[in-house]
Symmetry: C2
Subunit: 324 residues, 2 copies
Amino acid sequence: MIELVAGVDVGGTNTVFALIDQTGKIHAQDSFPTAAHGKFEDYVKAIGTGIFSLSSALGYEHEIKAVGIGAPSANYYSGCIENAVNLIWPGILPVVEMLSMEMGGIPVVTTNDANAAAMGEMIYGGARNMKNFVVITLGTGLGSGFVVNGEVLYGNDGFAGEYGHIIYDRHSDRECGCGRKGCLETYVSATGIKRTALEMLALSNRPSALRQILPERLTSKDIAEAAAEGDELALRCFEAAGKALGEALADLVAVTAPEAIFLFGGVANAGSLIMEPVRKHFENSLLSMWKGKVKILFSSVDEASAAILGASALAWDHLRKNKR
Amino acid sequence: MIELVAGVDVGGTNTVFALIDQTGKIHAQDSFPTAAHGKFEDYVKAIGTGIFSLSSALGYEHEIKAVGIGAPSANYYSGCIENAVNLIWPGILPVVEMLSMEMGGIPVVTTNDANAAAMGEMIYGGARNMKNFVVITLGTGLGSGFVVNGEVLYGNDGFAGEYGHIIYDRHSDRECGCGRKGCLETYVSATGIKRTALEMLALSNRPSALRQILPERLTSKDIAEAAAEGDELALRCFEAAGKALGEALADLVAVTAPEAIFLFGGVANAGSLIMEPVRKHFENSLLSMWKGKVKILFSSVDEASAAILGASALAWDHLRKNKR
């Protein structure tokens, strides 16, 4: 009999769920639009029903041992999604308790997307033999998941690891969605790189392909494509983002002294365009005792499945801990 | 029979050692000048002999269960003092192995001063019921000890927790002893506050008692005394230090989300002069989810004995872990 867990990715747009084994192989997968259910109770029921359907259709004997949920603003300790800004249900949502009931009492665990990504890296990815590492997710914003002594760092309240919201530049005028100014994610994220591009277009007269794109439509992907073709202004945007991230990661090393830092997500797809300046500024900025000792790597978890893999890794980790 | 541990504080000037019980009571204590022994072997022997002498002179039955050593640049994992800049012996010093042999094989553990302070706070001080907290030591420099899930955060190499060396201001010209510019400890430490005072004396024409003190002799204690008497320029120095520390601690919360942050050491003795601006700027700078939720407190471990208490706490923690 094969042992499986269910991984659930609660996204603002879609909810994806899958049955996954200990090697990270996906045995079955499905999804539905997150906003299809106005009541959160119905939404959780739909997840439970969806998992049972996948299980019924599976042509071989198996057992679903646990469920892991990656969700915005999810609190590992309380098992609740707490005031998520990009979901339609306000307030405190006891997703673990509700889904566990729906699933006949099997263990259910939850955490936020970046912590799930860190779990995925530890169980299936490049951090398999590491006890101290960090995953930085570079998407619309900048998320982070810290692993310390082989455990995700949740902190006192379950919400540790918001590295996108350390202040990168205390003299900055860049407004962040959090209401403050100068947060790292206003420099290093898809939207941060776009801001840098708009700033550079204003400051320089240099010709650039980016001048042909409506500011509202400009994306970090456009900037990466222009940079790949040698557009100097676009290249400078990645140099600036790499500088900010490299410097900020050097500060991070002074706190948790990880073995490696993994970059993951849309912006990381720019490859050496982002990695080269990150590594250069990181090494230049490190305290001398850490120079040459801390690796910066791309995540080795398949991006398309990373969210459900991370969620399932959380479930495997939970089972592993409770066997001890 | 009373169970005791020995706490050893390896200082640049003096080495202090004591026999301490589980409540933090010091049963016997002695010290000698650290540089009295040119060879490190002889130095370690002198510690061993010193502990045995204390033990022999004690008028009641007892057992010494372990030794904890707080030392500069001490690595918990390797048990070595590694390239300490303020000790007379260069290179890698296997202090744990050598002292354990000297002491007949009982467990010996070591870590740096700030981590030992965190241990002291956890075993004897205000963090007794906390699993996630930070101790910031404000002396000549700024040290930090992070506790996560009830364990000191050592990181991959044993040297995590150098919060004095995060970059507070990326546009700063303040040179740090580490060779970089803008480190937090160039703003928030006895020497940092002195720098701020010298800067303010240069920038302002305002009369101040600090103008009557030779720059070379000026100390943070002078500045605290002037501030206590209402000297406006001196008050501004503490406001500036409190702003820098409050802002930097808000960033720290975004990483480890502690329950409390303890301030300890010489500068902390300035009391409300430093605490008020720290708390004000900390609260103003926190991400909204943490506002009002993270305490900033003074250490409740007696400062005069904190170093040996912290070292002994490390020994008790080691014994506790190995009982499990």
